[in-house]
Amino acid sequence: MSLLVEMQGIEKRFPGVYCLKGVGFELRSGEVHALMGENGAGKSTLMKILSGVYQRDDGTVKIDGSLVEFNGPKDAQDAGVGIIHQELSLMNDLTVAQNVFIGREPRSFLGIINEKKLNLQAQEIFQKMNFDLDPTTEVSQLTVAKQQMIEIAKALSYKSRILIMDEPTAALNDAEIAELFTIIESLKSEGVGIIYISHKMDEIKKIADRVTVMRDGEYIDTVEAKDTPLSKIISMMVGREVKDENVDIPDLSSSPELLRVKGLSRGKEIQDVSFSLKKGEILGFAGLMGAGRTEVARAIFGADPFDSGEIWVNGKYCAISTPSDAVAAGIGYLSEDRKHFGLALGMDVRANISMATLGRFTNSCGVLKEADMEQIANDYIEQLAIRTPSDTQEVGFLSGGNQQKVVIAKWLLRDCDILIFDEPTRGIDVGAKAEIYKLLEALAKQGKAIIVISSELPEVMRLSHRIAVMCQGKLTGILPGGKATTQEQIMALATQ
């Protein structure tokens, strides 16, 4: 197998952040090379350098053995490097097909676009991916998961020899992940080299040939995937052992009910959803992409209107029509889409953490108590190990996983009685994930009621005291948590 990529001594600094400290990396043709590391280790930055988005401060990049210099993404594309970015970067107002082929539209004389051909080409790619989507749908109408699939389709359409996938599965469900893996296999056989970044450890065993681990902007080691146990990789990443116990389900029979949802409905998206949640309970929501879990959560939170149904909090009927009603009633909601709904990217870490709780940090004249906010922000930065130069760093400059932690901190600080976490560990590294699990359990023990929506079945099963399964807008069943339920039982309800 020939060497496709050879990166040596790559250095990169941002203001206040020494991000890459002489990192090396190599990729052979026909291999899947996993790049692992904690949040903020520098994985995405390294890949952005390889794909021409950032310019390196020092070091060399060779492709096919010859030195290259990329001045922009176009140069990298021309050299055969394709990338799926960690953060979605789509044009929301354009259609799916228009997004996939932006810059490469089939055009005739005078730049007139052949829209039919464009849609056909997109259709072809989707078919290859076994992905059912009308190419003329506007991207803004799609869920994050589908948008992620479009990013993948877009990267595939370049037919690159070097394909970088930066957390492609963070928003995907098992079915789509399986689909993606078949695609990866066939690309491998065509001799494409794939760099794969993910925080889902089980995936590494499934598809990676080699694994390179980074920590704190430094290169640690490269190992063969099949010879190395996961625990070894994890300890290389984190620098210590990570232990995660199994769930122990508390006895909640005498616990009072905090939340009751009765007959919640809206069109086809939410159909007559009813359930209840006790103090101290963690209720997991499982389901396939588009099952309607997010819709239910947003409706309860007042983010979207619903047609009919009632929400009872603490035994009292609650008329919720806006998020501020919901928060006043003690409900918090962590959105699955941090970029659009979770964070003010242009503001600093401190401001984002305190955004839902400003009332607590103001005096009677509306003047903010900055010192208190700084204190609290730093507490959470420490508690959640948020990697940031300071609490006044703009959130937009943090790595994806660290951004997610900031949103979590915001809701932890708000201290709601009922917390709805939609994909809380999306993009979060193993070590931190275990920390967050422990945190959720501790919160439940303190008497909070928690809903966790997750597309990772193991996560739902690991955390939940009960598991609600949704399918096409309906709640198809509620299963007991812990060892009592198998993946197969959940899948059966999710695909009714």
């Binding site: 988005v53 922009g72 594309q77 021309d78 044009m91 354009l94 228009q98 932006i102 810059g103 877009k154």
Partner: protein
């Protein structure tokens, strides 16, 4: 984007309702309501000559609004459309009257001058990373001054150039269909709008307009040279302003160097009333045309009703807000 009819019996009426409920048709609703209202309240409103006056009044502002639409869809703004129009009119005046060149040279010169100024604004925005508001505000001031300098601060009359005033005032349609003497200015507006609409929806330039307005970084990351395209879009918009310059100077048979200030707000208003978002990524030329027509009908109607001028302004303000509100409701429902 479909709306479901409430009735169960598929009667003709329900079908009609269904048809008119269709998004595109409803966009005209405010316009139609205004037309009906003025027709009822004033017997003089609904005459051919007044309709032509309204269309004529739309022509210049409409063309400027088309230019502004392109730039606004990219997420930018063009404050220089009004003075750019004036500047190109002065250029045409110099070419035709002072230098006595033939008519096509003057027309082409004005359009090229417009495109060049647009090219400059575009370069300020794309290459120097100056916010469009400032780049085009600066351009507006520069052109305002240059128009006065070039013309010696006096109007340039096109008396030497045979047929110059026919560009806007003549009526090719009227020669063929004498009962429909639509002035050429209006015809040109519709041609410009038609071409722009085609370019926006069917060509690469249009695609990048929407793409850049929607998420410039994403387009750039896809390997498109967004800077170059942005410059191209501003240049095209500038060229269209050149056409507006020809139209207005032909209608006034002179290049008036002091005119044009304040026209930018009116053009942008037409664009936004037409449903194009100032944050970019969304918009249509047909919407802009409707927006320009709404403004023109409203202005004309209130004048024909002889409403006192100060109240005209008040009512215009209220109706613009209501029209856009109606449009927002319609869009929300059709979702």
């Amino acid at each position: 984007m479909t709306t479901e009819s409430q009735t169960t019996s598929p009667s003709l009426i329900s079908k009609l309702i269904k048809m008119t409920a269709h998004q595109r048709v409803l966009a005209f609703a405010s316009l139609v309501i205004l037309l009906v209202f003025f027709s009822v309240t004033s017997p003089n409103f609904m005459q051919m000559s007044n309709m032509l006056a309204i269309l004529q009044a739309t022509s210049v502002n409409g063309v400027l609004a088309v230019a502004a639409t392109l730039v606004i869809i990219t997420g930018g703004i063009d404050l220089s459309v009004g003075t750019l129009m004036t500047f190109t009119a002065v250029v045409a005046g110099i070419l035709l009257t002072n230098l006595n060149l033939p008519l096509p040279v003057g027309v082409l010169g004005a359009i090229l001058a417009g495109a060049f100024c647009g090219f400059c604004s575009g370069s300020f925005v794309a290459k120097m990373k100056i916010p469009p508001f400032i780049a085009t505000l600066g351009m507006m001031l520069i052109l305002k001054g240059l128009s006065l300098v070039l013309s010696g601060a006096r109007p340039i009359y096109f008396n030497n150039t045979e047929g110059y005033d026919a560009i806007s005032r003549g009526s090719l349609i009227g020669e063929v269909l004498p009962f429909l003497p639509i002035p050429n200015g209006v015809l040109i507006l519709f041609v410009v709008a038609g071409v722009a609409s085609y370019v926006l929806s069917k060509t690469v330039l249009g695609r990048y307009c929407f793409g850049i307005g929607s998420n410039e970084e994403a387009v750039r990351l896809s390997g498109v040279n967004t800077d170059r395209w942005k410059i191209a879009i501003y240049a095209v918009a500038g060229g269209i302003c050149g056409i507006a310059g020809i139209l207005i100077s032909s209608r006034l048979n002179s290049a008036q160097p002091a005119l044009g200030l304040g026209y930018e707000l009116e053009a942008i208003a037409a664009v936004v009333i037409g449903g194009t978002s100032l944050s970019g990524g969304r918009g249509s030329i047909i919407g802009t045309l409707i927006g320009a027509l709404i403004v023109a009908v409203l202005t004309n109607g209130l004048r024909v009703l002889s409403v006192a001028q100060e109240w005209q302004t008040v009512i215009t303000g209220i109706i613009i807000i209501l029209a856009v509100y109606a449009d927002m409701m319609r869009r929300q429902k059709s979702k």
